[in-house]
Symmetry: D2
Subunit: 498 residues, 4 copies
């Protein structure tokens, strides 16, 4: 870990323990596990193998801290969150270095994630003060109807490795703003970013027990969170498969669950699109974090007339990408998260090619030389002539490959776009007002980008439909997930003097 | 069934078939099953034993009808719902007769349910027009952020026998108002009220396939609804046990689920309460529908100083109740829904007495004479000296028995009130402003009645927390359950002329 | 008046008295004044010359009725309004006949106004139940913050002759839904439609004094309303000049005022517009009610490249219009409201022609023959080559003339469109998404039609900025105008037991 | 001014010029006028006598700055406001010193005002990002209805001397957050606090021209603001008389106006109140800022049974007050703002005594010795036996005197409380839930304190009804005053491919 540590202005941000009840603590067993740099396969740090025991302790700590945290005013909680935001912004270079080291994404992408992730903290610091109940128009002159909103209780947050920071702040910030306390399980391969956030939170004055982090044995931690009746809400981002299991498990304790699961995002380029911009943005979306985001362009639908122009343009853009370590100047794409993941994507590409897809660029595993040859890299790949029977069409690729499919009629594109069990993000390019509204309405997705691939913001609801999940993060809706409604029905008929 | 039919102004409202795709239809097997009058054990009618096949057909019908229904404007849908409301109000005597016949509740209670149930139809007819997305304040001058809300798709509604009408209209009306289509499984012992509603809906112009009803084999129907990937949302009211199973099953298709489950409602009578009114209202709550409601007073906590006065008052009120057939003049309490249910409640009472509880009235099974001796009646029972080790304290009684527990300090009452896995409705009586707010806030329940037991209204969110469920019915929140959010992110930076 | 009466199914709807405190009543002086048919100059009916005395009595009646009406639940008020809506829909043929007779607009236009006007009643019948206060997130654990909304009190409504019905229902329905009582002064030249509405309201169960109408001497009535300290809110639609005077007068009693004043609506036809549709819709807007609406197309800006095509198209559409009595089959344009108004418009046209405008059709006063020669008709007129120095550019035309101005750059059109003190409605035609958003944003108007001229609906806020007014009618915002906010700050710190 | 300057940590905060277009500038005439310390009659500083010319320049500067400020995102504006908030909090000792010097209030009160005033800046910094339009449920499948909200334009803010800071931040912060630019006229006797705020705003990055301040000749500045057609909104806090004139004047340019005018606040002590606490809080309210607040207790209504107890308690509390310079340790009440004001209050007291009121303490002008004998002090005065014919009952006292009136029935108190043309703030003390709700509802006031006198917070709407004003400050409603609504009606029927 000396390697990363040396990059940090504040070396104290590289924490390698669980954080429970305000204390940095190892696993009871004393066991640890390595965290690797996917660009080089080097060990970045060793962290405890937390499990059921550590999770139970964390849940207890969160439960103990709940009444006190809930009793604070939203303004008080907001001030602490605001302080956390300030510290995170200040430390964003360090957080980004830790993130690049354990996740592999280019430093600039890590910085961008820091901005967005901090944005969620700031947003919910403010939003918590705006929680609001209703005074309803009564149906009976002797009764007053009010509603109030209160925190759901202890929250379990389970987050993925592809956005080691922002997936956390989207869940933890609204939970804390609402008055909930949290037990967080970050992805086992990217725990360090999470731990740096906890350290900054501690410095900002988040009281002991309000935010707890258990790293280590993912199934053991997850199962303990799910089984606990104390945990009243699970916020999960990850694969559809795991999400379904969590949701099923949560039923027995009637937990509330929000799930941000997989996607299979269509990109539709209508024939009146600005082709150059569309090509640029398609690549930005498809190969962000080496294609490892749930809202990545997964299937590119190009309208007949502009097809060759678009393929040419996009190939040129992809050819301009530079692979390498996220710390190296000019690098625009890093490795995949693991050899397994890299090989899976490689197989998908080979299957597509075997069925007739033509790579206009990429398609294989690069030789980058030096330490990077131990990294888990894959060439960014454009697959022309993709067809509906290929796995790259049917599955979430989660890697740097993009299949291109041609369509004739507008309706054909919509139909193919909706031909998936997923419903997270869809995108299209057109300049036509009516086409824009109608296509947006007909796409069965939770988010629709129109002439734009950067659809994420703290102000905008993020989330999917169908098998891509339930619930929304960020925006005013993201807070509702952590609140429960109470209806007050007050009889005042006994007073006869007024 | 001639008996009920003869009470109806419009005999055509007594339907005895499934309603699928706009057609009245039997089970494919041709099998039927009887519906009993719980006051006399007589058969009211025979209905088909629908199952997986009928449910699958109904789901298909709903899926086919969905695009057309969704494409109507909310105003058009609202007009049809309004017409339905008008017809239901007009037919309320007949609906009430059918309800009393199959469910046993006094006719006046059935009428009251009709008013409330129709109220939900009217409310959502109006509310559908008020669905509203957002135009958000952008974070980027080249982007416009909008959100829209659209219907989730085909909805499965599963409803209980204790409110054969209103539990349906709370789910079906918002679903329809939102643009969803519905497959409804009413309780197998009270299908007839549901079918009369469908007939009125048909007359009101609800298009074929938009509302479907399958009656019969409850597990087969429920399992089919849960397993279907076409069904995107389940609205369930019923037992906590069944609800948990449904929620677990729904996870595999990432369905949205709202659950209104069991309760164990505390009634706290603080020492500054108006004792007479509190006693009256406690009985109204505890013994409505013979104690078979999920928000019934289940545990009565009386503050020391007013205990004897309260027990005396409440005993007097209970002694004034009259058991009998819901059709008979002056009857204020009917039978339980089944012999099994009656015997279960009787056992609970006996267990309490064996542990020291003293019935001040009731306690056994009455002899009412004539046909009623075949009915499933139980005496309304007040159990003084109840203690925390009794089942009547720990379990949902769902019958006409109420345990009375004494407390000293305010905090003791709150603590005992919260000492349950349930969190549906709680009630208390006090005239003190601060006590009212603080007690309401400290009670971990979804609904709190203060000096009032009639907490249900179309305007007020209904639903629980903890193991009493997730989601809300009625009110503006009740519509949200059937809507999904879409975020539109529109790039407009390409235009440089403005 | 026999002439109109004979057209009515329900002759009792032709009322010719003031309506005060639930009674039909003449002026104290016994004086009456005639109401003319502008198509023939015949007298339709004679109505009382109400003035200060009648208005004071009406204000008193409204004040007396206020506490009782306010004390009803919103649901009760909504039911009465709903009944009113039903009766108005039922009587819409009769109301339309009365309207055509006194206002001159084609019967089909009158019917359309009836639909829209009734729509406001229905909307606010529903909306009143949705009035909602807030339970705020406290800043002090010992304090609870609530807000509530209550009716402002007695409302004075002053309405114009160009929409004798819908301008009334937009004001009276929300006022009544909010719990206010009303004194209405309809335009002196079109009182009969208003009186028919009052009669239907009476039948619907609006209690005596809740809705009062005074017809007659406009300045005397208006001054009395404005001077009264009992009247807490004025809702006015009319000329900018009168509106300013009313607002100034209202200051002395700190009344709330909403004003819907004049407009000078630009219609911009961008070069990617669908020219035929744009031409059709421009005529629909410009010559609805013979050009006498505040949101009429007043200035047509056509982008250079499509100018000749557009002028040709629009001239053809205008040539297809048929002038005549609103009762006659096929008539699509009626007379102006008065000879004075007709002459004013004629002068505007002549001034434009003298400065170089070229009429491609119309331009003068038609000879229609028979009784119609006594009517106040003007030919629908298209003025090509209009320039910025003409009065038709600078003033609100309020008659059937439309000046056409050519522009080159998008920005030029926006600049000219905003070059007026008015800010009511603007319109433009384009298919481009970005142009649509940016032009809409840059137009300083309260309402913007994009590819659409029919911008009025009960769901959509109606109102202007700049010298076109303050406040909004219809929509959820239209109710706010009649509500006042109350902040409740409740100290609950004295209770120490919870 | 050396005296105040010496108290400041940052002497640069004592500005003595107008602030226009980002520049500190004198009057064109070169004229200046003194600002006095009301505790000693010493000159604190000399400031320019700005008038029509300076105001016109400020309006131009604001108009020039408007497009740029509006074009920033709400997030950008919010960041600048946040920075301003941070600087104000940091400088709060200095601001408070300036405030005490020119306004006379005790330093601790000045500090409290600083906290509250800064709170408005923070609140609106956040609130601006939450401005939100609507996507409405269409009534026509070919049309989309949206609403947006945009800043009204240049705002004129006119503020009083009794809260030299918080009355400014309540207006300026929401205006700036909304995207408006501002010309502020602070009270002529307390300009220095305003100028210090401007200096901090400048440092925080508020661009030149966005916030302008003109000090000097009040009528000339006010008239210019009112007459200008560029100024689209006036936010005023001050006397009812001036407010009415401003509103009347604003009508000619159809400005939007919000007015926070005078009050005549009733304090009702019901017989179940906590008398000691009520007495404490009554004094806190009545004699804050020496009784010079618009929400001061003006009339004390005590229920018969607790009258003598209450009078005794309140007299004791008042006797504990200490008069003197706001800078002196332990001082709890300062001088009035001017000799004229002091004499007016003295006259009111004398008139009351002449009609039978009995001062239980105070009643005259104190001899405080030293420099303070030149100050404008008045003894805090309790007037027992007050009656309804006294001016202290009928008028806003605005000084340290409180008349006490006894009542029998609850309804009597409500009736007397409402017996005034004012409707700003009312207060009452009771522990009864129903009495609390019903009294709150029956009091015709914009704000109601229940067991609490500290009713002001950035989260709570502040404002009155009747002759106390229109509009609300602070809270989410406070931003609406600076926004105008735009309805977008988009025709999308031309597209037939989707």
């Amino acid at each position: 870990s000396s390697d990363v540590k040396s990059k940090l202005k504040d070396a104290e941000l590289l924490k390698t323990d669980c954080f429970v009840g305000g204390e940095w603590t190892g696993a009871e067993s004393g066991e640890t596990m390595p965290v690797y740099n996917p660009a080089t396969n080097e060990v970045v740090a060793n962290v405890p193998v937390g499990g059921a025991k550590e999770t139970s302790r964390a849940i207890s700590a969160a439960a103990d801290a709940f009444p006190g945290w809930k009793a604070k005013t939203a303004k008080e909680r907001g001030s602490i969150l605001r302080k956390w935001y300030d510290l995170v912004v200040e430390a964003s270079d360090d957080i980004s270095s830790i993130m690049t080291a354990e996740c592999g994404k280019p430093f600039a992408e890590a910085k961008a994630e820091c901005v967005g992730g901090a944005g969620s903290i700031e947003w919910f610091a403010e939003e918590g003060r705006r929680i609001q109940g209703d005074v309803l128009e009564t149906v009976n002159p002797s009764i007053r109807f009010l509603t109030t909103k209160s925190p759901v209780g202890v929250v379990g947050a389970i987050t993925p490795w592809n956005f080691p920071m922002s997936m956390i702040t989207r869940k933890v910030s609204p939970a804390l703003a609402a008055g909930c306390t949290v037990v967080l399980k970050p992805a086992e391969v990217t725990p360090l970013t999470a731990l740096s956030l906890a350290e900054l939170g501690r410095r900002a004055g988040i009281p002991a027990g309000v935010l707890n982090i258990v790293v280590g044995d993912a199934p053991a931690i997850g199962d303990t969170l799910i089984a606990s009746d104390t945990v009243r809400k699970i916020g999960f981002t990850g694969s559809t498969g795991v999400g379904k299991k969590l949701a099923a498990g949560a039923a027995d304790t009637v937990k509330r669950v929000s799930l941000e699961l997989g996607g299979n995002a269509p990109f539709i380029i209508f024939d009146d699109a600005d082709v150059e911009t569309a090509a640029q943005m398609t690549v930005s979306s498809a190969f962000r974090n080496a294609g490892q985001t749930c809202i990545c362009a997964n299937r590119i639908f190009v309208q007949e007339g502009i097809r060759s122009q678009f393929v040419e343009a996009i190939t040129a853009v992809v050819n301009g990408l530079k692979l390498g370590s996220g710390f190296d100047e000019g690098v625009t794409m890093g490795p995949l998260i693991s050899p397994k993941q890299r090989d899976r994507v490689h197989e998908l590409v080979k299957e597509a090619v075997s069925k007739g897809a033509k790579p206009t660029t990429g398609g294989g595993i690069p030789n980058l030389g030096g330490k990077l040859d131990q990294g888990y890299f894959m060439q960014p790949t454009v697959l022309d002539n993709a067809t509906l029977d290929m796995k790259v069409y049917k599955e979430e690729i989660f890697g740097p490959a993009m299949p291109i499919i041609t369509f004739k009629q507008d309706k054909d594109a919509i139909k193919m776009a909706n031909d998936t069990e997923y419903g997270l993000a869809a995108y299209f390019w057109t300049k036509d007002l009516a086409r824009a509204f109608k296509a947006a309405e007909q796409l069965d997705y939770g988010m629709v980008g129109i002439n734009e691939q950067a659809i994420t913001s703290e102000i905008a609801p993020f989330g999917g439909i169908k098998h891509s999940g339930v619930g929304r993060e960020n925006s005013k809706y993201g807070l509702e997930e952590f609140l429960q409604l109470k209806t007050l029905v007050m009889g005042v008929g006994y007073n006869k003097t007024l």
